[in-house]
Subunit: 402 residues, 2 copies
């Protein structure tokens, strides 16, 4: 999207292909899953975004393969789409470290459907717990295990704790609150490994104060229906959410170029594939080496800067030998934990608490596309901050006729 | 809900049972179906509404039967719920005049799931039409038939025409617009039969100016997959929506009292069933005779006034012989057709056009529960009125894993 927008006034014909009709602001997806925001607050139709950009044609279709010989993109429904230049940004999906059978038991959070499924499950479990007698099963039904202590896992654990222990409390007075357990499981030394150790520790103690059990240096050994085995101990839990591994889109295999162990394309300094100066791979799907040689993280700012960089090369039709290498301007990282609780790091600066949280709010509001969404999300957050009444606590996902 | 809220300070224990966790503001459901509003704009969680009313316990469950002998309500999941007094307001569902096999082909619009299903279908058909070559099938795919010319059918037809012919136009420049057809089929003499003939005629010509084909005195004779037979003529249409007949909930059969041909309970003047002075039936489920002897219409104002009336009897524990009969205070009727187009009737007063539309907006905003929803809907409408960019044009309903 950033690349297409950056090519606004360029003399090119752009075809934007996506399998959905909307762009999803992933960093706030966990807020839909925890009933704080509605789907339409964090997603917007691609066609509306490009309504006034006549050089863009939007195609809603599912890309099946890249045919480099014919120079066409093969899609599921429509005819093949020919191209002169191609920007691939297919992102990543969950990766269960080879255990594909875990997926149905530990779903991840990538789409609006995932988020609504989780929201409905969360709400249903509370309704079920107040309807039935308290039994041994109640505790299992109220146990949530989040696998992965990166920003997604931390934000999800914090939001679950907030909605579970605080926002829901006045509405379910008869719920056995002592049975509600939220476990955050991280295999590494500490949660938020991308941040400094001091901020990691702050995030951990903030989560613990909110009622989350944080387990570090704990690997998930096995997952079965209703049970996760961690540290050689089986834990019965009705709800498990995967926020651990990612793997780049399998679409990249059709390029027939070297991939790294995470399935990402090893791009050159100008983000092209080894033997095609006009085929770019950006975002989560690209293994693009940073200053110290390690691959750049799979973050939205990286992808957006790459989009702008590639659009610049296309606009000027820069020949390969004259291209400056892509350099990521790292402005820092943010993760929120709960109301008025967040951690932020930018170069040598470190913040936590209220100030970091306000910074987080401002940055996320800023990156939402469109005035309408900014206004809606801002008003929803203000409302929730003041009243603790999440607005989107609706169940309709499983009303569908079968 | 109105009855429970009216009993706020009464010394009674209230159990509110509903199969969903939210109250849905049905009059605006068609706006969710046409992508103008989001589900959370027109629905709100019951528990939040009754958070500060300690005499209400909310149970999310599906009522299966009323056992009058044991005086319990039988539900699907939880234990039976005993009662001293009972208010039944189970509403109605679609009625296909005995043709149950029509239902899968002509779905109605009663739940958020129905609305999201229709929204997704509407958006998908536009995406499909620009992706594929124009063929004979394109016209069928772009034909919408709405059965029933009451307020629901008229509002839906108007909203479809507006989104189809106006709001979508800039986003799908290559769509063959001449293939888009919206048919409104009404069996009676005129659409909006509850309104005066003059307003009916105004609504008809307003719809026709918007591109809707209005067929009156036209009965649906048969419905098959992709085809509806009207006036002995088969019409091929990929989308058919039922807004014609309603029938009261089948739950009422378990009461074992006389029902009218629409399945409604023939209640006495105090809205009780013939042989139980503390078992009330209100809303769409009740056949309550109006001043002229005809049953009161199935409208929200009738149901709400009945709820308040019954709450009054319960509060004062009025014995049957001292009860004044229920009298409906008819404040008029409203139906909207499109942007700045509506009809309104209140006693001898009749309005149409911009003024009626503003009146409609004010009334509907007023009846939405809660400051948050009022603000959101008001801002969405203002946004849509100014920009013609509907905010909720998202597809995610069929993303669910199978």
């Amino acid at each position: 999207m950033t690349a297409a927008q950056s090519l606004k006034s360029a003399p090119v014909d752009i075809v934007l292909v996506d399998r959905t009709n909307h762009h999803l602001f992933q960093p706030l997806l966990y807020q839909v899953a925890t009933a704080a925001l509605s789907p339409s607050d964090i997603a917007w139709p691609l066609r509306t975004t490009f309504r006034s950009q006549p050089n863009v044609r939007v195609v809603m279709d599912d890309v099946q393969a890249i045919d480099r010989r014919e120079r066409v993109v093969q899609v599921r429904e429509g005819p093949p789409i020919p191209f002169d230049m191609l920007i691939l940004a297919p992102g990543s999906r969950h990766w269960y470290f080879g255990h594909r059978d875990w997926e149905p038991h530990v779903p991840g959070l990538k789409t609006l459907a995932d988020a609504l499924e989780l929201r409905e499950r969360l709400l249903l479990v509370f309704e079920g717990a107040v309807r039935r007698q308290r039994t041994a099963e109640t505790k299992i039904n109220l146990t949530f295990v989040i696998v992965g202590g990166g920003p997604t896992g931390v934000e999800l654990a914090g939001a679950l704790a907030e909605i579970g222990f605080k926002a829901m409390r006045p509405d379910f007075p008869s719920l056995p609150w002592e049975d509600l357990r939220i476990l955050l499981v991280e295999g590494g030394e500490r949660i938020l490994p991308g941040f400094s150790p001091a901020l990691s520790a702050k995030a951990k103690s903030a989560l613990e104060r909110m009622g989350v059990t944080v387990l570090v240096k704990t690997m998930v050994q096995d997952v079965r229906a209703g049970t996760v085995v961690i540290g050689n101990q089986p834990i019965e839990a009705a709800h498990m959410i995967w926020a651990a591994g990612n793997r780049a889109s399998p679409l990249l295999e059709s390029l027939d170029v070297p991939l790294d162990p995470s399935g990402r394309v090893k791009v050159r300094a100008d983000l092209t594939i080894p033997d095609d100066p006009w085929l770019f791979v950006i975002g989560d799907a690209a293994h693009s080496a940073g200053k110290d040689g390690t691959p750049l993280p799979g973050l939205a700012p990286v992808a957006m800067q790459q989009g702008r960089y590639v659009a610049g090369l296309i606009k000027k039709h820069t020949p390969p030998e004259q291209r400056p290498p892509f350099v990521y301007a790292d402005r820092g990282m943010l993760a929120t934990i709960g109301r008025a609780k967040a951690v932020a790091e930018s170069g040598p600066l470190q913040f936590s608490g209220m100030f970091a949280w306000l910074l987080w709010c401002v940055v996320h509001i800023f990156f939402l596309i469109g005035f309408r969404n900014r206004l809606r999300v801002m008003s929803e957050w203000t409302w929730y901050y003041l009243t603790f009444k999440p607005g989107a606590r609706l169940m309709y996902w499983n009303q569908r006729k079968v």
